[in-house]
């Protein structure tokens, strides 16, 4: 299908081009300002490699938690009518609007060393402040909205009568969910997974309040920039941008083939 020519297209394209330039150019500048040899050298630094591994791992853990806890919730939000549903939906959306440093403070109030929940977990040997679990819950808090909402929209787009038919053919509710609804909503859920995971990779504000150490990549970039300046921060930034892009492209590609 060829697109209809429209007099508006040219001015609109010019306006849009400004925005695209605004995103692409700084990224491109950062990537090209560093030689491959310098990148390789940076990756070899134990501190950098550790930070990058920690960032990816913590974000994956947060996403997995949200998957286990959030997909059932998303299904309920898509299918069930219950009192307080609007409130639950609002709560799911709130992390998107709360400033992330404020979110970090809020989490500290509950999961900190002095708080009841924090103490209970401490008894189990899990610390949140200045520890990896703290990074994970910070990423969970700021990213769960993406996953839950995407999964909810995915479930909503599956005709409930498909489940009805499966039931009349002998499926239990559990079987109808896993064999019909989940596979059909999977693409939306996966896109939620990608968004949430990417959100976790980039998280700075909430993480830095709960756990400056161990250092995730965004905190490391910030620290190098603060302590040594742009030249020292840039190779790490470049590395993180490149890896993020590669992973992003890979997951997009997986998502496209998921149904085939």
């Amino acid at each position: 299908m060829s697109m209809m020519r429209n007099r508006l297209f040219l001015p609109f394209a010019l306006l849009g081009a400004v925005l695209i330039w605004f995103v692409a150019w700084p990224l491109l500048r950062t990537i090209t300002a560093v030689t491959p040899a310098a990148l390789w050298h940076t990756l070899g630094e134990p501190e950098v490699a550790h930070a990058i591994g920690l960032t990816f791992g913590a974000s994956a853990a947060a996403t997995l938690l949200a998957l286990v806890l959030g997909v059932p919730l998303a299904y309920l939000l898509a299918r069930a009518a219950f009192p307080g549903k609007a409130l639950v939906e609002a709560i799911v959306d709130i992390p998107v609007v709360v400033p992330h440093s404020a979110a970090g403070i809020a989490l500290l109030m509950v999961f900190g060393r002095q708080a009841a929940v924090g103490k209970a977990f401490a008894a189990l040997g899990i610390r949140f402040v200045s520890a990896t679990p703290g990074i994970v819950i910070a990423m969970l808090f700021v990213g769960l909205s993406f996953l839950v909402n995407a999964a909810r929209d995915g479930f909503r787009s599956v005709d409930p009568r498909l489940e009805h038919v499966a039931r009349t053919l002998g499926a239990s509710p559990w079987q109808a969910f896993w064999q019909v609804t989940f596979p059909l909503a999977w693409r939306s859920i996966l896109s939620g997974v990608i968004m949430m995971w990417a959100r976790g990779l980039s998280e700075f504000g909430a993480v830095v309040i709960l756990a400056y150490h161990p250092m995730v990549a965004p905190v490391l970039i910030f620290e190098r920039f603060e302590s040594y300046g742009l030249d020292y921060a840039r190779p790490v930034a470049t590395l993180v941008i490149l890896i993020s892009l590669l992973v992003f492209l890979f997951l997009r590609w997986v998502g496209r083939d998921a149904e085939a």
Partner: protein, 376 residues
């Protein structure tokens, strides 16, 4: 495929409310092997009623019995009641054969496959090649579509897949929700024939919901006319069309001259219809047990027999004259040897009635063209 066991459905004082739709007190009995049609206007909540029978909604009151067992509280997967939606609702992520195999795979699932359904995928793939699935596909003439995905099928093909998917697990009762109304007229007629053929072959109990009276008459052993969540009348097709019990039924079915007949081809593009001792000539081809209808407006009355092109001319006697709006409905009873007379209703204008000066019990000639006889 063989006939499933049982299939006697009894609905007792069912009460139901869902949104604006309400059933106050509905009772109904469908015999084992019967083709039962619920006939009512579109949007009368018939889908909700069927979903309740299938166990997808819980009624507010009343009981459902299947072969003497109370199934009111049973979940749908334990009822053995099949369901086919108007718009088919095929699993879009499975092939035609996998859609049909779905119910069988569930029945054969091991405990592990029930708990971890992603293990069930392999069984589904294997069963898609099973004999029972092939038989079901062949029964519906869709064997050649086995490996296609539903999105590549036409409406009629999808409906056949939906029927095969429901039939392959041998349901005790099959619920059909407006199964033909989403199809174009040609496909509708073909699939109507299929439904009749399949019902004769399997004698599965069928509860079929429709707003189309012709469909109801063509398929039903028994019809219940429903209106506003209530049953207005239950009976054989002829009984309902001949003796509407309520004004609503009379209005809704709208047909006055409807008769069961035995059709045999008479050559030259005409069909001979035996209606209990009388012979009616119709245009077109038909064979076996059929129904015929003649619109009252198509029946011509005259005082004396006249030579004309009308293929159907009968001598009778006027038994009733009812003016209705611009027309007058004149009932003429045509005597038959050894049987009750055949009532024909003709609609004529008031001036025409004046000219003929007809009064009850007057002799009269009623005629209509072969092409005015509607066979189905």
């Amino acid at each position: 495929m063989q006939k499933p066991e049982g299939g006697h459905l009894r609905i007792e004082h069912l009460r139901l409310r869902l949104g604006a739709f309400q059933v106050a007190d509905l009772s109904l009995e469908v015999e084992d092997g019967q083709y039962f049609v619920l006939l009512g206007p579109t949007g009368a909540g018939k889908t909700v009623l069927l979903e309740t029978i299938a166990g997808l909604h819980r009624p507010e009151g009343g009981r459902l019995w299947l072969d003497g067992e109370d199934i009111t509280a049973r979940p749908p997967e334990q009822r053995g009641i099949g369901f086919v939606y108007q718009d088919y609702v095929l699993f879009p992520h499975r092939t035609v054969a996998e859609n049909v195999a779905f119910g069988l795979a569930l029945r054969q699932a091991t405990a592990w496959e029930r708990a971890l359904p992603w293990l069930a995928r392999r069984r589904l793939r294997r069963l898609a090649r099973a004999q029972a699935v092939t038989d079901a596909l062949d029964l519906l003439h869709i064997g050649h579509l086995a490996d296609r995905h539903p999105r590549h099928l036409s409406g009629g093909e999808r409906q056949r897949v939906a029927l095969a998917r429901a039939l392959v697990v041998q349901p005790r009762v099959l619920l059909l929700d407006e199964p033909l109304s989403a199809l174009d007229p040609q496909r509708r007629e073909a699939l109507r024939g299929e439904l009749r053929r399949i019902h004769r072959a399997l004698s599965t109990t069928v509860l079929h919901v429709t707003h189309d009276f012709e469909e109801a008459v063509a398929l039903a052993d028994r019809i219940a006319v429903v209106h506003a969540g209530r049953i207005e009348q239950v009976g054989t097709p002829e009984a309902i069309f001949r003796r509407p019990a309520t004004p609503f039924v009379a209005e809704f079915v709208g047909v006055r001259n409807l008769f069961a007949a035995q059709a045999s081809p008479a050559g030259k593009g005409i069909t001979r219809l035996a209606v209990g001792g009388l012979t009616i000539i119709a245009a077109g081809h038909a064979k076996g047990k059929v129904h015929l209808a003649v619109r009252p407006e198509d029946i011509v009355l005259s005082r004396h027999p006249q030579e004309s092109s009308l293929r159907n001319v009968f001598q009778g006697r006027v038994t009733a004259i009812e003016p209705r709006g611009a027309l007058v409905y004149v009932t003429v009873e045509v005597p038959r040897s050894g049987e009750k007379p055949l009532p024909l209703v003709a609609a004529i204008t008031a001036p025409a009635l004046e000219t003929l000066a007809l009064r009850p019990s007057d002799p009269v000639t009623a005629g209509f063209k072969a092409s005015a006889v509607h066979v189905f």
